[in-house]
Symmetry: C2
Subunit: 237 residues, 2 copies
DNA sequence: TGGGATTTGTTCCCGCGTTCACAAGCTCTT
DNA sequence: AAGAGCTTGTGAACGCGGGAACAAATCCCA
């Protein structure tokens, strides 16, 4: 009975991409935070930082930070810490920020406009190459050196600019249709701000940001605080 | 060994708060999604729905949905399903949406404006009662029947409107200071859109929404897709 | 009234992520 | 040159959440 790759999730025979193979999702979600902290330290002239310092800057546990970084490789020096500039470069590279990502925004309402004007995207490796809206009254309007395009041109714009990432800021009702069209046109990653559940084929990544839900989660905790207060008072009586 | 149908792990002596004691965070985060699905079904005239139907509408597994709902209590009927309107009311109540939550927005830039204009908040139990900005040039400007107030009035506004939830949409540099002042003024829940890690005392909840980070996570997966494509081609050769 | 069909509520198990704790390894001083 | 003092990288333990599977409970129909 040979121990073929069955019951063996990871093969130690991999040449290099071994590190990139299985970075946990939870770690991926934190890498951008580390990146931001490193950039901040870098700008301040810091050359070296320990895991403890980095962890404090990023708002996490130092053990977690070390384990996260260990998935990328061994970029620290024992007894010293991490070279800030080097680590920053490595994280940026492995996240995929050494290149510029063209992005299309569909739905130029309040939120779509705000995103289009937000300078933080450009400085972090994302370039908004097209704004699309279904409202004919808004088509043609200029915004941040871009002219709003009609929904009909969506597919052409995606292909023309080789867009891989689409942002949906439409009303809920239009979200699924827009998502379908984005996927058909070749987009394989979607950031969905519409308050709707959208389904996509395998191989397409969707991340959802729902502002109302965030507030509702806070409201739940607020209510619990009030309830706790009440029972505490009751108990002390 | 009698198969007594009891073996009850829960004490039936508790009045009500037993259920509310330990709802997992992951479940809390999904309840608003269920709520939205239920509202949608309700508007469509649906009276009863099975866990399978609800789960599909919410984009989750039916077992997960049943378990989530079981934390709230037994609101379903075996062999039938859930009463849509009743379940909707119960979730709304337990989340804390039977009351209106006053909210203050600090930082009326692109995003702050978009949030102020967003109608979805009001319809979901949140009322924006104040807009605050540090820029004297913007103070006084009217937005959605609210006049932008100077940062100096923050504390007074929080107290006046009994604000428990604050939204930070300032630049990163101002976020920690604003958070400190919000907390001092009595705010115990913060929704932070600023690309900065903010620290708050125990008992204060912070949720962070970082748009750049969401895109960066997508970028990582995009890059991996490209890499996979390359290695697949290589392997097939 | 009883049996079958249906659907919930729950238990059990598994895998992921977090945290602790420590060995390995580097630097600096004496 | 050797040891003291740090700091990283990681093995192991633990707790939480997800999913399958099943028993309990309700409805429907003959």
């Amino acid at each position: 009975m040979r121990t073929v790759s069955r019951t063996r999730p990871r093969e130690p025979a991999e040449p290099v991409p071994d590190a990139a193979r299985g970075i946990p999702d939870a770690t991926i979600a934190r890498l951008p935070v580390y990146l931001r902290s490193l950039t901040s330290l870098c700008d301040r002239g810091t050359v070296t930082a320990s895991s403890d310092e980095l962890a404090r800057a990023a708002g996490v546990n130092s053990a977690k930070l070390r384990k996260d970084l260990s998935y990328l490789g061994s970029y620290g020096t024992r007894g010293v810490g991490y070279d800030v500039a080097y680590l920053r470069y490595e994280i940026a590279r492995q996240i995929g920020l050494s290149q510029d990502w063209p992005v299309v925004i569909v739905g130029v309402g309040n939120l779509g406009q705000a995103l289009a004007k937000y300078a933080g995207f450009r400085s972090r490796g994302f370039r908004i190459v097209a704004l699309v809206d279904a409202d004919p009254g808004r088509v043609g309007e200029a915004l941040e050196q871009l002219r709003i395009r009609p929904l009909a041109e969506l597919e052409a714009l995606v292909e023309q600019h080789q867009v891989a990432i689409g942002v949906i800021t439409t009303p809920a009702g239009a979200a699924q249709d827009v998502a379908d069209r984005l996927v058909t046109a070749g987009v394989t990653s979607i950031l969905n701000f519409a308050p709707a559940v959208i389904t996509v084929p395998d191989g397409v990544d969707v991340r959802k940001v729902d502002l109302s839900i965030e507030l509702q989660i806070l409201a739940y905790h607020e209510q619990r605080k009030l309830a706790h207060l009440a029972t505490d008072v009751g108990e002390s009586a």
